[in-house]
Amino acid sequence: MAIASGGGHWVQLMRLRPAWEGLDVFYVSLDPSSAVDVPGHRYYTIRDASRKQKWAFLLVAASLLRILLRERPAVVITTGSAPALVAIVLARKLFGARTIWIDSIANAERLSTSGQKAGAVADVWLTQWPELARGEGRHPEFWGAVL
């Protein structure tokens, strides 16, 4: 399962496609029109919700649960944002999926809030900025960047 919010998150996910080329993959994002980017693949849309909109967030969690029940992905990979954090938490806790979080390249000076939380559930936890992969305490790894 490859999931990303709309706009820049989706564009970054598309740049990582060689990582799962030829594997059985389905996609989840926000904009129905993004389906044209992944012809021949199953593509699901969810509504957008920020961490602060509680009800919208529950609806997003419910749609994600439906998708996960149907697809049972073994691996979930994402470039963010908040709805994708819900996806990796559900996939990890309820279905035992292995999860990969790649924080957006837009977060050059500190991880996104969702990215910080993802550290607790992601099997692979990445930043695209080497500076953010150093220092005291728990921090993500740096494996490279989409640009």
């Binding site: 740049r15 990582a19 993004s34 980017d37 073994a74 837009a106 692979v124 640009l147």
Partner: protein
Amino acid sequence: MIFVTVGSMFPFDRLIRVMDDWAATAAPGRILAQIGHGSYVPRHMEHVRRLSQADFTATMAASDLIVAHAGMGTVITAGRVGRPLVLLPRIEKWGEHTTDHQIATANWLRGKPGIFIADTDADLPGAIAAAQRAGGQDATLPPHADPAFTDRLRAAILGFLDQTAGPRT
């Protein structure tokens, strides 16, 4: 054509208003503005609320210059089609985004070929003039990330799939 875009997430009335004022006096020919659910409706530029992913890319490819918020979707797509790009970062304290990360993005991209940063509204006309003088971005961006990065991700994914599948006979 000049394409002005605020991206797919939040409105950015400040950019649209400044560009509308500029269009009224500079009369630079056709301008299309994608304004999202902004409340300011431009009077001196054509506008659309949103574009599909495919139309967004096609519009970028058809423009001579792109003026935008400092969002990575816009930056990467403009790089793919090799068009010059002027960026005005969104400011958190004015409610334009949830954090000030676009300022960091603008600082990182400052001085890259084909990219021109306007830190303030007043910088926009100068940045546009510089972009028009410079023409297109030097090289168009390849479609995918560095293979060293995607190869490592692929190895991790294959490793996980192996573990899930259990011992093979």
